[in-house]
Amino acid sequence: MAYVPPRRVLILGIGNVLWADEGFGPRCIETLAARYAFPDHVKLLDGGTQGLYLLPFLEDADDLLIFDAVDYGLEPGTVKTLRDDDVPAFLGAKKMSLHQTGFQDVLATADLKGCRPERITLIGCQPAELEDYGGGLRPVVSERIGTVIDLAIAELAAWGVDAQAGQSNGADLADPSIRRDAYEAGRPSARTACRIGDDRFFPGAD
């Protein structure tokens, strides 16, 4: 029987760790890497807000699993999974995010180039707070990471990916200084670090 190479899977967390719940995606990758080991055909990536610069990674993926903070218009902390053609619309839903439109463009560009991953799943969490620059995840969001990881493992299992309890190579993950524990513990006090944002993105600020 001819050798069939395994499908290349990219697990991607997008978002900006500096904007509170915007960091949900990268923090999921961090947690996944700390709890599971994956075979070589699976890549974990903290994509930050890199937009188009992430296209080369998409080109090398048959299946794409995305973690992101998504504005579904639901209660903060609500987790929702979307698949394939439903994904791009939600990636563009948020008016505040630095990267959302960017990533929607990335998927469209991948389409135009004929290299869009065949399967795309987005596991998103409704953020509670996006406007706290320098802040970490809000409890209502951070306590959903465990659920999201379980959903991811189930999705990956359905794709035929065998995740083992263990750890993944940290080479492509965030520098230790901005991983969640160090980042949140090292935050200056509210007196020295301003905690407000642009009023226009602040419902009820007026």
Binding site: N16, V17, L18, D46, G47, G48, T49, Q50, G51, L52, Y53, L54, L55, P56, E59, G92, L98, H99, T101, G102, D105, A108, T109, D111, L112, K113, G114, Y133, G134, A171, D172, A174, D175, S177, I178, G186, R187, P188, T192, A193, C194, I196, G197, D198, D199, R200, F202, P203, A205, D206
Partner: protein
Amino acid sequence: MATTPNGFDLDTSGQRIVVDPVTRIEGHMRCEVNVDESGIIRNAVSTGTMWRGLEVILKGRDPRDAWAFTERICGVCTGTHALTSVRAVEDALGISIPDNANSIRNIMQLNLQVHDHIVHFYHLHALDWVNPVNALRADPKATSELQQAVSPNHPLSSPGYFRDVQNRLKKFVESGQLGLFKNGYWDNPAYLLPPEADLMATTHYLEALDLQKEVVKIHTIFGGKNPHPNWLVGGVPCPINVHSTGAVGAINMERLNMVSSIVDQCIAFVNNVYIPDVVAIGGFYRNWLYGGGLSGQAVLAYGDIPEHPNDFSAGQLHLPRGAIVNGNLNEVHDVDVRDPEQIQEFVDHSWYTYGEPGKGLHPWDGVTEPKYELGPNAKGTKTNIEALDEAAKYSWIKAPRWKGHAMEVGPLARYIVGYAKGHEDIKNQVNGLLRTMNLPVSALFSTLGRTAARALEAEYCARLQKHFFDKLVTNIRNGDESTANVEKWDPKTWPKEAMGVGMTEAPRGALGHWIKIKDGRIENYQCVVPTTWNGSPRDTAGNIGAFEASLMNTKMERPEEPVEILRTLHSFDPCLACSTHVMAPDGQELSTVKVR
């Protein structure tokens, strides 16, 4: 009507047009203009709509980690911010880096410059000049002839090749969603290219994406990973080991050969595709010479790409340093980023406070204390602004000034400084381009000039990568494998208090980080980024900023379709999706259109 100290006549009587946010830029930005009855812009107001206080979130952190935070500020200039940050810390602590580290950092910085310029032109800026929908009407054979005429050495030029791309494009557009190209103003008369040129440029957009796939590998090789490569105070975090297979991640001959090949691909693309496209597209827009703004009178560059490690003297920098003011190109002033009298930030028109009006602060003494309030003539509410009052505070961007002057920074500023200083490579490139296009030097001071300077700089930087690659390889051959100096890694070796500054030329322009360290921790950290210079609001004296100046006196074909505004703002390379509100003089909304 009022005349600003920097010489612009502002007239706010005409129709007010609001573009918010400005699309295809990185970050959040809004622009408002007043146009007269013939559609000419007579007043321009540019505002940053996002609070970005990196400065305050770094307080109390380990200075050796600052690069990792600054790398996350922005989705584009990650490496440049990281480089600027490690330079600031090294400056403060008196850390000198080895020769190899200088070469590797330069290669990474030059590579980013080339990569960013290409992505900017094809992804963010091309749609201001190129109409991809019009490309569907092109004759592939005529496109092939055009390609061979503008760039005889480019192998991808057959009629069949262009027909394939056109079919792909057709399928994409016919799939119902125009995707990337939706919400453009594709029937606006501001688009001047024939369909064949549109098809050629759109095809090259796809080729640019193919190149990008290769280019980013340099960051993985030298920075250990991509995106978000690793940086190190004291050098670069990649060991060299050419004599054996070495540790995982060490630089060996195989990796160096890969770097060399990527550099060659960059050079070929810039020479065979990017520059010929700019010449060809520019030729059709040669009479559209709006957008000069401050470029003809006040430009600033810190300089970058030091030939030798730890030597930032102006004569040793490949990208030039200097300031030109009052339009006097015969005098290039040196720039001292440490001098408290030279660079100062003002906040009279920014949503911050220093406690007293009219005050300017040097970044080392910088204060980032927000104060959000709208002026008495603003329309709307604090959470839903319809029109800003530029006589009061109106932007989250501070107003940096050099000796009181509003300055333009970026590729065009660097090229004007270089040209004025007689920088040989820059002079030859600029003169060559002007000759080819049969344009006078004055044509440089324009939106098109800014776009052309970026292309020329990509060519120059692509070539310079080779210089530093050769230098690195020679050094390694001579037995020097050192890439980091960790003598002062331990905070016990640091003085109790220290201050430093890091400078780079980011793709968008002069970038500086100023740091104060106390008891081993960050006491103060201030970034003055290129878009702070270019996107600055008015200052105490009333000088308008570079974006604002660049929009003045531009004729809009259709005021409700801000093609010209986007074209000029994009030429500065600031990146998004947005809605545009067109306001009547009484602030009533005339129409709402989506901009992409």
